[in-house]
């Protein structure tokens, strides 16, 4: 296909005149049947790299995506744009819905799947009968245990690709160190992939870090910062309680700002409303946990503030990548207090099983073995053993690796099980140390003297673009006195009948 027509297709399907950096190169390779690895920074239109080929190719495009919420958002966004032939298969569907969907699967051009659901024999068999022309691994860093999120089910993808008659493979990630990039290729069972690696530094983001004594001080600082700004702002927290507390205080102390919180513990309908208000510029400031923002494509976010840091640099880079998608000046601000180290440590611990958990799990499996039972579904096991999803996934993966489990069957061998206990205990410790080291890396960035930009991106790339905005507080950016300007906020409470008229677009304003 000639390049000119690719641009025409882009215009036709997405309404864009030109490709963003890297998109065209990746799409051309994919369309020519070459296995491709694409590393593109967050917010640079990664998904177009497979969505466009999916529209143009003869067969079906299967996309493996690790997050159900992300999948749902993507399908919704595509449908809103008018692509109807897109769907998602995930574990949230009821048995009946799944059956219905599978029976109509040939109707779709683009099918999102979770890595777990690909292990479901029914789904796998059905997909095998389709003419799959492109197999996409989104968030491909999940396949590497050196990546910032390791998903054991990703390791089974190489096998899946073979059973699907070896379609063209496209692996995509927003943040992957060179080490992880190599790992992706190997773990997917590829020998040769076209690589398109693009630098992830954003030339329109300025950086600032401020150290404070106590978390409460941060709120005061944020108030001062936002008081005279007209700038859509995201503030990241690592706990739901903090997000709610901050939202409450900021709204009462900044009465002309529209502030709300968002986290995974809210009712689904409320979550959707808040998300859309923010997209629709009905909110100025959103206090959120990492649950927010995966599928959000808001262009004009000016501030991404970290009240708490995530547990690693990769996540941090991903989160600030939500700022300034319109290419205009945006600012990343980190507030750090010494007590901040506590939360991430707890978070990392909660993702890994503890020593008693391991013993408890082995006892549980042994009892099942003795009674001749098979392993029940994950949710039940988690409940029974009081393990989180990530903890159980971790144990289960290693049980499979060490042949304690064969599919749902428990295989017993006294010596082997003893060794396994020792092995797993060590493994937990290693994983914990590794994660803590990743966290320390980010913390040491906060403490480092020198240009913020340089030291942040150093592990990922050799050279940096020249920023088109002030670089960072260290390089002389007077961020505390900087302002995006002010706008009179409109936050008038109307009579309900006026509001009703506005909703229905009736009355003078709308006629």
């Amino acid at each position: 296909m000639s390049n000119r027509s690719l641009e025409k297709e882009l215009k036709h399907y997405f309404g864009f005149d030109t490709f963003k950096t890297g998109q065209k190169e990746i799409i051309s390779d994919v369309m020519n049947g070459r296995d491709t690895l694409g590393i593109l920074p967050t917010g640079s239109g990664k998904s177009v790299c497979y969505q466009l080929p999916a529209m143009l190719a003869e067969g079906v495009t299967v996309v493996v995506s690790p997050l159900v919420s992300l999948m749902v958002d993507q399908v919704k966004a595509l449908k809103a744009k008018g692509f109807k032939r897109v769907t998602a298969i995930n574990s949230f569907l009821s048995q009946e819905q799944k059956k219905q969907l599978l029976s109509q699967l040939s109707h779709y051009k683009l099918v999102y799947v979770s890595p777990e659901i690909l292990q479901n024999p029914l789904v796998k068999e059905r997909l095998k009968t389709l003419p799959i022309s492109l197999f996409v691994v989104d968030e491909a860093h999940c396949i590497s245990q050196w990546g910032h999120e390791f998903r054991t089910d990703y390791l089974k993808l190489a096998n899946v690709i073979e059973t699907f008659n070896r379609p063209t493979v496209l692996a995509l990630s927003g943040t992957a160190t060179p080490e992880v990039q190599k790992d992706i290729v190997t773990q997917l069972g590829m020998t040769d992939m076209e690589s398109h690696i693009y630098a992830m530094d954003k030339e329109n983001i300025s950086f600032a870090i401020e150290h404070v004594e106590h978390p409460n001080e941060k709120l005061v600082k944020i108030e001062q910062l936002l008081k005279y700004q007209h700038a859509p702002t995201m503030i990241y927290f690592s706990s739901r309680q903090w997000a709610e507390k901050a939202s409450g205080e900021l709204s009462s102390n900044l009465p002309d700002k529209r502030v709300a919180f968002y986290h995974g513990g809210m009712e689904q309908s409320d979550r959707l409303l808040i998300q859309q208000q923010f997209m629709n510029d009905q909110l100025d400031v959103i206090c959120c946990t990492s649950a927010f923002g995966m599928g959000i494509d808001k262009k004009n976010i000016r501030y991404v503030i970290h009240f708490h840091l995530p547990t690693q640099t990769e996540s941090f880079i991903q989160e600030i990548g939500r700022a300034g998608r319109d290419g205009k000046h945006s600012i990343s601000v980190v507030y750090y207090s010494p007590s901040d180290d506590y939360l991430p440590k707890k978070l990392i611990q909660s993702e890994l099983p503890e020593a008693p958990d391991i013993q408890k799990t082995l006892n549980y499996l042994f009892n099942l073995y003795q009674s001749g039972a098979k392993l029940p579904v994950d949710e039940l096991v988690q409940q029974e053993l009081e393990l989180t999803e990530t903890q159980w996934r971790f144990i289960k993966y290693h049980c499979h690796q060490h042949h304690l489990l064969y599919q749902q069957t428990i295989v017993f061998n006294r010596d082997k099980w003893k060794d396994f206990h020792t092995f797993l205990t060590n493994q937990v410790e290693n994983r914990f140390q590794y994660k803590m080291a990743k966290f320390s890396e980010l913390i040491s960035w906060v403490h480092r003297q020198g240009c913020r930009r340089k030291s942040l991106y150093q592990p990922f790339q050799t050279s940096l673009k020249t920023p088109v905005v002030p670089c960072c507080d260290f390089c002389g950016f007077d961020w505390k006195n900087f302002t995006f300007g002010q706008k009179e906020a409109v936050m008038i409470q109307q009579d309900w009948n006026e509001r009703l008229r506005d909703i229905f677009l009736l009355g003078d304003k709308h006629e």
Binding site: V72, K76, A77, A80, K81, G82, Q97, Q100, S103, Q104, S251, A260, F261, M266, E267, Q268, S269, D270, L272, L273, I274, Q276, Q277, M279, N280, Q282, Q493, D495, W496, N497, R499, L500, R501, D502, I503, F504, L505, L506
Partner: protein, 356 residues
């Protein structure tokens, strides 16, 4: 706490020290246990069954505690069963004057209200966006069955969209005028229109200086009121009546076809219906055609595109026949008989309209 307080006091009063706070919790969240259902009937609290599904246990205990501290109830320590004090009883009388009549009918509506609510919100979001010319917008629900239902009903009404929007507005306005100002305001701000997204419960609580409990109950109460008003007087609220399952549908349609129609309205596709109902696809097709014949506004477009309708009807006009086989042959077998019959059904309505 007001409304929430009133409901709690009512429950405590009716239960009269015979159940613990956990029993009240089970009632309000609508726990599916025979004990809870039995209690609801025995203490005449069926109206409140499942009116507060997202209530958290700890929240209820906070509220109960507060009532205790305010001296409105006492709890015998040995069995943890709350009872009203004399003061509490007096207070309940005052609240009753303030809040009655309440229109909750939980036991009958609890399974319908959630669907009703989501359909209503999405439908208003959809028609207002269409009016504004926004063909692309992000729906405020993720549920596919709701999306399909809304799409179908929108299609059925899009030919007279402006009038339709007006009448939905007027019907809603008149029903909102019947309830107290606070409830009307909370409910109105919950709605999403084109470019105007509704508020979350926490935001509504902040805006109207209410506890979140009351926000939830106001919304629920209005939904119950709305549902029953429409159900009782579909003639007064013809546009809103699409949201309420008819007590009985047109007698012209067979029972079996009605069932199929119900499934279609829920957004199910024909294959699934045929599987579900263990009926042959041809029977389901018969049902669809039957309904298309009886109901002038049946959304034929769910099954055949405008283009296809045009193609088929052209041939029918040319041949001046209703003989399926001739039409089918003239189209060289391009279309299934089902499609041709549907188009026939639709043309029949157009003809009768033309005559009038």
């Amino acid at each position: 706490m007001r409304v929430f307080e009133y409901i709690l006091l009512r429950c405590i009063n009716s239960i009269n020290g015979e159940r613990t706070a956990a029993g009240i919790y089970n009632l309000l969240v609508g726990k599916r246990s025979s004990q809870t259902l039995q209690d609801a009937h025995a203490y005449q609290l069926t109206d409140f069954f499942a009116i507060y599904k997202p209530l958290e246990r700890i929240e209820l205990f906070h509220a109960i505690n507060q009532l205790k501290e305010e001296g409105k109830i006492f709890i015998k320590s040995e069995d943890e069963r709350p009872e009203l004090t004399a003061y509490g009883n007096e207070h309940l009388g005052r609240l009753s004057n303030e809040w009655e009549p309440l229109y909750f009918n939980g036991i009958r509506l609890h399974e319908k209200i959630g669907l009703f609510e989501e359909r209503l919100y999405l439908y208003i979001q959809t028609i207002t966006n269409m009016k504004k010319g926004n063909k692309q917008f992000l729906p405020i629900t993720d549920r596919n069955d709701i999306l399909r239902w809304v799409k179908m009903n929108y299609k059925a009404n899009k030919t007279h969209l402006m009038d339709h929007i007006h009448s939905i507005y007027h019907e809603l306005y008149s029903l909102l005028s019947e309830v107290n100002e606070e409830e009307a305001a909370v409910f109105t701000y919950r709605l999403t229109g084109a470019g105007l997204i509704g508020l979350s419960k926490q935001q509504l609580a902040d805006m109207f200086h209410l506890p979140v409990h009351n926000v939830h109950l106001h919304i629920q109460h209005f939904l119950h009121h709305l549902y029953q008003a429409i159900e009782n007087k579909p003639g007064t609220y013809p546009s809103l009546s699409i949201f309420v399952e008819e007590k009985e549908t047109s007698h012209l349609i067979t029972n079996s076809a009605q069932k199929t129609y119900l499934f279609i309205k829920q957004g199910m596709d024909l294959e699934t219906i045929s599987e579900r109902r263990r009926l042959k696809m041809s029977t389901i097709h018969d049902h669809v055609v039957e309904m298309a014949l009886v109901q002038p506004d049946f959304p034929v477009s769910l099954f055949v595109s405008e283009q296809e309708v045009k193609e088929i009807s052209q041939v029918m006009d040319e041949l001046q026949t209703n003989k399926l086989k001739s039409i089918h042959d003239a189209l060289r077998g391009k279309f299934d008989y089902f499609f041709i019959r549907l188009v026939q059904a639709r043309m029949q309505h157009q003809k009768s309209e033309a005559k009038i």
